[in-house]
Subunit: 169 residues, 2 copies
DNA sequence: CCTATCATGTAATCCGTTACATGATTAT
DNA sequence: ATAATCATGTAACGGATTACATGATAGG
């Protein structure tokens, strides 16, 4: 059993498997795309390699389906559950940075009007998607989903106001 | 001369060298820390490796100081200037994701009150820093700096409002 | 039927982070 | 003087992205 560093990716995998009990990499892919993927997306290839890593380190068990596609199906071990709980209870790490490519362009002298117009449209589209998701949220959606989506929506509003001013100035 | 993919890191290096004419890795480190570093920070080691990469691909020239520390000093080539201009003119890539670790914790069931309190304090501190920078901005600061800082400040406000409600609900 | 897209997975590459180092200044 | 921090750089590692592959399903 080998030591690995637990990254945010690790906790996404652990957290999702915790929510659903067990999952194949493809299950994880779909789960990510309808949940945390809105603010923290992952490449599908990582949903194959990351569970392997976590299994090597004793956080997950792996069992292969007999016959058919012989999928690998993962579940939490006790160690995995503990790691997840410890992470949840820890004070959060450093704050995220904006890391917005468009801001880099703005900083390095791109045409403001053009840039702002393109950004405005992209953010409006994204806001519309988020709002559509919110409308269709079933009644008993967990608070975590609801709140993270809410955070996303607010940031979209902030971006829209920002780029509108940049475009208009 | 070797092909390399140009990443955001590449454009930070190209953009900064474009602004100052020429720079050593250590110059770049300081430049980043007082400019784009507020929303797009880089490890100092990358400011050694990235210019090498860019030089291998013909975007920069490298010359070594004689004597002393024999620092490497980089400057843009024509190809580098063109690449930077092309990037500036391109429509922006995909929008950034929030990728906020605290949101992951919220999503996966961390204690809302505790989490929100910690985040509130961290964001308040960061907002104060940004505002201090804004106060001390010299008169003729380029619009790019001013606007990107403004974007940062607004997002901090958004976060503060969000976490305040999460804490209060 | 044939083609496009979805489902599912592995392998290779490489950028970014972390660890390691050491000479020069500054502070006490 | 000595410790601490700044200045400056290299090397190793590993997580994340990209490329490569192929069987299944659905649409036209």
């Amino acid at each position: 059993m080998q030591d690995v560093r637990l990254t945010p990716t690790s906790y996404v995998v652990l957290g999702l498997i915790d929510q659903v009990g067990q999952a194949t990499p493809y299950d994880l892919k779909r789960l990510v795309s309808i949940s945390v993927g809105y603010f923290w997306s992952l490449q599908h290839a990582q949903l194959y390699s990351e569970p392997e890593r976590l299994t090597r380190a004793g956080y997950l068990t792996e069992e292969r389906e007999e016959g058919g596609r012989r999928r690998k199906r993962y579940a939490l071990t006790e160690r995995g559950r503990e790691a997840l709980a410890a992470w949840r209870a820890q004070p959060p790490d450093d704050l995220a940075e904006l890391r917005e490519p468009a801001l880099l362009k703005l900083f390095f002298g791109a045409d403001r009007k053009e840039l702002a117009t393109a950004q405005l449209e992209a953010h409006r589209r994204r806001l519309a998607e988020y709002e559509a998701v919110r409308e269709q949220m079933p009644p008993r959606t967990p608070e975590g989903s609801r709140l993270t989506l809410e955070a996303g929506i607010r940031h979209e509003h902030t971006w829209i106001a920002f780029w509108r001013e940049v475009a208009g100035g």
